[in-house]
């Protein structure tokens, strides 16, 4: 076996591999771009693709600001008093909880939630081909749902028109970020990102740590005020300086949210499914529950929070493969010379007029190419003008070959079509013209 150094072959590069030296130099001169620069969704990237956020950062600065201000007030006004009267561990515990909450928040905001990359054109065409079994040439949008069995339960998969694929189960398309996200929970404006498969555990640890933090601060503040009132010092001033009000109002919503998400984790549900009532017993007629649940609270919790961390599928920092601008045209340019060199005068016996006549007849009868012919190799006549005239005609001529044999030769040669005259003019320009009809 020869020494093959395997590199991922880009099929588009394969079809145009014998490039001219000039083309190769041009391509190297183009700056190779990273994939995040051409990402189709509405996301913003920082640090050369390492950090991803939604386009609208929402109220993330407000969230951060609230946390920092609350903790700042706590450390500044309550801690000195409490350290003096109680224990030195109070600011330590507060500091640890604060750090934990902020780090979890930043991880939730800056992590890819489980975005699914959009389908490649070949994939989309393959899906449409599988659905469009009638063989109709007119474009018909694929049906919206496909039913599959998951753990003996019927689940409907929806087709995403933006991403051009059937969404995997539990995947939903976020309209704010314009991405399909796996195990989509919700789009959180406080965090400024979607919450999905990859960052749900960060989100959960953020709200739990925030609940502990706000409860802790609230408790410390109440203790502080109580101690102050017992000592008879200025109560009003203490209330004004402490973050009591912020804590009081936020604690109920945060505790409520934590409780809700604990319930979701224990039953292996997402917010999306819970709101829609996908697996609720009232909706399902027969006995069917959540097919993803392990029917054990501990297992559900462990799977959601401590399960394996899936990788990011969008490969933000990878390089975009350099593609030729017009692969079809260059393919024919490159394929022409070897074939012409190989073929001798035998190939020239078929007269130019004959070939043109077929072109004309096919063109008149069928018209232009329908839009949905992905697998046909487009062929160009090697001239500078009007390549599109050459392309559909030859693809039509191949299909019409059988019918052409029976057509009237007189008609074929004598038809005064404008396209014929145009093509005659083109051919008359130079000798270096080749035809490559599709077999």
């Amino acid at each position: 076996m020869k020494n093959c150094e395997y590199q991922q072959i880009d099929p588009r590069a394969l079809s145009v591999s014998p490039m001219s030296a000039q083309n190769r130099a041009e391509m190297k001169a183009q700056r190779s771009r990273r994939k995040w620069e051409v990402f189709p969704g509405k996301n913003r990237f920082f640090c050369d693709g390492r950090i991803i956020v939604a386009r609208q950062s929402g109220v993330l600065p407000l969230t951060l600001g609230l946390i920092v201000v609350t903790c700042g007030l706590f450390f500044a006004f309550d801690c000195p008093f409490l350290v003096e009267h109680l224990t030195v561990f109070i600011p330590v515990i507060g500091g640890v909880l604060f750090l934990f909450a902020v780090i979890s928040l930043l991880r939730t905001s800056f992590t890819d939630p489980g975005i699914l990359p959009r389908a490649t054109p070949e994939e989309a065409a393959d899906i449409e081909k599988q659905i469009d079994t009638s063989g109709s040439s007119t474009y018909r949008p694929p049906p919206r749902t496909k039913e599959i069995l998951i753990n003996q339960q019927v689940v409907k998969l929806k087709y995403c028109f933006t991403c051009k694929m059937f969404r995997p189960p539990r995947t939903s398309h976020c309209s704010l970020c314009d991405n399909c996200v796996e195990r989509f929970d919700h789009h959180c404006p406080w965090v400024g990102n979607c919450v999905g498969k990859r960052n749900y555990r960060f989100f959960y640890s953020f709200i739990i740590s925030l609940s502990f933090l706000t409860s802790f601060i609230f408790g410390c503040v109440v203790t502080h005020i109580t101690l102050r009132s017992q000592e008879g010092k200025s109560l009003i001033q203490a209330i004004q300086e402490s973050p009591l009000v912020i804590c009081f109002f936020s604690i109920w919503s945060i505790l409520g949210l934590s409780g809700f998400h604990t319930y979701l984790v224990a039953s292996n549900l997402t917010t999306n499914e819970d709101i829609k009532g996908s697996w609720s017993s009232k909706r399902c007629t027969e006995e069917s529950g959540n097919p993803y649940s392990y029917n054990n609270i501990i297992t559900n919790c462990c799977v959601t929070l401590c399960g394996p961390m899936p990788p990011s599928l969008i490969d933000r920092r990878g390089f975009v493969p350099l593609v030729e601008a017009s692969p079809a045209a260059s393919a024919t340019e490159i394929e022409l010379p070897p074939f012409l060199a190989k073929n001798d005068s035998n190939m020239c016996t078929r007269s130019t007029k004959d070939v043109l006549a077929r072109m004309v007849h096919a063109f008149d009868s069928r018209g232009l190419c329908p839009p949905g012919t992905p697998k046909t190799t487009p062929v160009g006549v090697e001239v500078s003008s009007s390549p599109s005239a050459g392309c559909p005609l030859f693809s039509r001529s191949s299909r019409k070959r059988d019918s052409l044999h029976s057509s009237n030769p007189a008609f074929r040669l004598a038809s005064p079509s404008p396209s014929l005259s145009r093509n005659t003019m083109i051919l008359g320009e130079g000798p270096d013209v080749g035809f490559i009809p599709i077999p």
């Binding site: 020869k2 998951i150 993803y292 961390m309």
Partner: protein, 158 residues
Amino acid sequence: MATEFHNLQELRHSASLANKVFIQRDYSEGTTCRFQTKFPSELESRIERTLFEDTVKTLNNYYAEAEKIGGQSYLEGCLACTTAYLIFLCMETRYEKVLKKIAKYIQEQNEKIFAPRGLLVTDPIERGMRVIEISIYEDRGSSGSSSGSSSVSGSTAR
């Protein structure tokens, strides 16, 4: 008519892409990563059914190993939680390790089995783990009438 290629370099230089076959995901056991082992009809003349099924089953086993929920994954998860998930910045997760093994396996399979038959398997991670894309190549030098290859039937004299 099977086209013969001796290695990937030969495939690269003398073949043109004819068609692509997509092996879809199998969701019958939930959202874990599994691919259908149904043999596509386009590959019938190209590769033996058993070889294809073995490849897909091995890939499925690799993915099951990556997503296995057990002692090691719990340990990794708890450790990560206690360090506020900062450990993910320095440590490679088990999933990533298995993905590297998968990439190596696919490369070996391409070199030994698929490239000599004019096929190329793309790693599913490059397609968002949605499909296994198998590209079918035709020998550019042959003048057969298979789809994708071009042959000249008429030209003017140069």
